[in-house]
């Protein structure tokens, strides 16, 4: 796993952003161009939905091919064919409910971790925006913190906070904090010079400037950062859960157990569900972003 670097964080380049934006764009264009381009809504929809559908089918075909064509009977446990994964991992309620409970536990950890990151991130970014000296002081440490591979500090975390829920949350925070700080700070500093002059001219105090100018100006960037961090906090929760076994069983623990017990079907089902959780969180925050700033901000790809 790699954390996005500074540039990515502020520009919010993400493979998912493309998908989401093009879907929104398609609907938008449809409305706008309906008058002079005879392109039916159905066709637009087909053009957006068909390509991933085709690719998905190809992947499943390749999967079958590997399961039956490449792997011998004895080694087939390495990659069970799709229908078996579906049967054992998803349709067997006993297994599936276990995965769902694990997801739920990890989602809770991610939510708590993300909330803490948001609180710390907003606070620090606001402070940094108010005094250059704070920015200079804090920034190098933030960069250093986000450069540490989580694996390297797992022992330290368990040494300090044990192997329970708290350590999982700490991992979450470490992973998701940086994009929030960077994006919030970038956003707070994004207001035009001219508008700042206007506020100066009319004797706006610090708080007014922050409330009426810098904070609203920062919202698009803040949401872009949130979107990245929300995804990362899910990853953090799973990674944390993978390493710390005490307390509630999350999806990380399940992944580990399934792998150890050679439960290939459940393992794949758990992987798919984790990824779906990530996608869901990403889309959720995209939706919130659109609700919050979509009216006035052209959210292109972010």
């Amino acid at each position: 796993m790699t954390l996005p670097d500074l540039g990515q964080a502020s520009e919010t380049i993400s493979p998912l952003a493309g998908i989401d934006a093009s879907a929104a764009q398609a609907v938008d264009d449809n409305v706008r161009q309906a008058a002079f381009r005879p392109k039916s809504r159905g066709r637009e929809l087909a053009e957006t939905v068909l390509p991933p559908l085709v690719l998905g089918s190809l992947v499943i075909a390749a999967w079958y091919f590997i399961s039956y064509g490449v792997l011998t009977e004895a080694r087939r446990f390495l990659l069970r064919p799709p229908h078996q994964v579906l049967q054992v991992g998803f349709l067997d309620w006993e297994n599936f409910s276990e995965i769902l409970l694990g997801l739920w536990s990890s989602a809770r950890v991610a939510t708590i971790g993300l909330s803490i990151s948001i609180a710390i991130g907003f606070f620090l970014a606001t402070l940094m925006s108010q005094a250059k000296v704070v920015e200079r002081a804090v920034f190098p440490f933030m960069v250093a913190l986000q450069a540490i591979p989580v694996l390297a500090i797992v022992p330290l975390i368990s040494f300090w906070w044990g192997t329970g829920q708290r350590s999982r949350i700490v991992v979450c925070v470490i992973i998701s904090l940086f994009p929030i700080i960077v994006n919030t700070l970038f956003g707070l500093q994004s207001a035009e010079r001219g508008i700042h002059d206007l506020f100066t001219l009319h004797h706006a105090n610090r708080l007014t400037r922050l409330r009426k100018l810098m904070f609203p100006a920062a919202l698009p960037a803040i949401f872009a950062g949130l979107r990245i961090s929300a995804g990362l906090s899910v990853i953090g929760a799973i990674v944390g859960d993978f390493f710390f076994g005490k307390g509630g069983v999350g999806i990380g623990q399940l992944l580990r157990r399934y792998a150890n017990n050679l439960q290939g079907e459940e393992l794949l089902a758990a992987v798919i569900m984790s990824s779906l959780l990530g996608v869901a969180v990403f889309l959720l925050f995209g939706w919130i972003q659109n609700r919050a700033v979509g009216r006035w901000h052209d959210t292109t790809g972010a």
Binding site: G194, I195, L198, L201, H202, K212
Partner: protein, 233 residues
């Protein structure tokens, strides 16, 4: 006025603008016109000289519209009223009047992203109008709009001037704009900016759009243009 890096932007600039006067400054790009307004408004600290400006509720229209993209037209117009703590009860009427004055009725709930450049400039004007400023500074407010829109806005600005009776100081590149609106035109030289000529514009207010085709108007514009050229060489 000399900047910290040694750039001398203004030298020996001396003039006054009274109430009910509309003074325009024309000058080549980079001669220090914006600097002049920034000093007048207090955004910049002058390095030498004397200055007296009634800065209570100073009106300042910037080169670009500087609207807040997250606010609707009405809320943008009300920004300065908020900053000056004008009572909530008065604001609605204030916004309605100002928006009406600049001819944007019907666009109250639009966001800036859906307005044209000229409309944004009008919002910026309306925003400043809410303060009923006794002193009104304009820094090339219509520099970025097309000729026809500009002439339109000139006529509207003139109406506002006649109605509100403020002291106006208007910066522009356009000689036609300067002569059409002002009571006086000051011509500045290239950097360091000095005032090299002053013209009193004799035409009566309110000035009609047709004035632009008047031979007297052309003659005066020609003289201003000549002075401006002299300022280069």
């Amino acid at each position: 006025m000399t900047f910290p890096d040694g750039t001398e932007a203004l030298r020996d600039v001396s003039f006054s603008v009274d109430k009910k006067e509309f003074v325009t400054v024309v000058g080549p790009s980079g001669c220090g016109k914006s600097t002049l307004l920034k000093i007048a408004s207090g955004l910049l600290e002058r390095t030498s000289g004397e200055l007296e400006v009634d800065r209570d509720h100073l009106g300042y229209v910037f080169q670009d519209s500087t609207l807040l993209p997250w606010r609707t037209v009405t809320d943008n117009v009300l920004l300065l009223a908020e900053l000056h703590n004008i009572p909530l009860a008065d604001r609605k009427q204030l916004a309605r009047d100002a928006i009406d004055l600049v001819g944007l009725t019907g666009f109250e709930n639009h966001y800036p992203k859906s307005l044209s450049g000229g409309m944004k400039m009008r919002v910026s004007l309306a925003r400043t109008l809410t303060l009923k400023p006794p002193v009104f500074l304009f820094d090339e407010p219509f520099g970025a709009v097309d000729e026809i829109t500009r002439e339109h806005l000139n006529e509207e600005t003139q109406k506002l001037f006649l109605r509100e009776g403020f002291a106006g100081l208007f910066i522009t590149h356009s000689i036609g704009e300067a002569v059409f609106m002002s009571t006086r035109v000051l011509v500045m030289s290239a950097r360091p900016g000095r005032i090299v000529a002053e013209f009193v514009v004799p035409f009566d207010y309110p000035r009609k759009p047709e004035l632009r085709f008047d031979p007297e108007f052309s003659k005066l514009s020609g003289e201003v243009s000549h002075a401006l050229r002299g300022g280069y060489g």
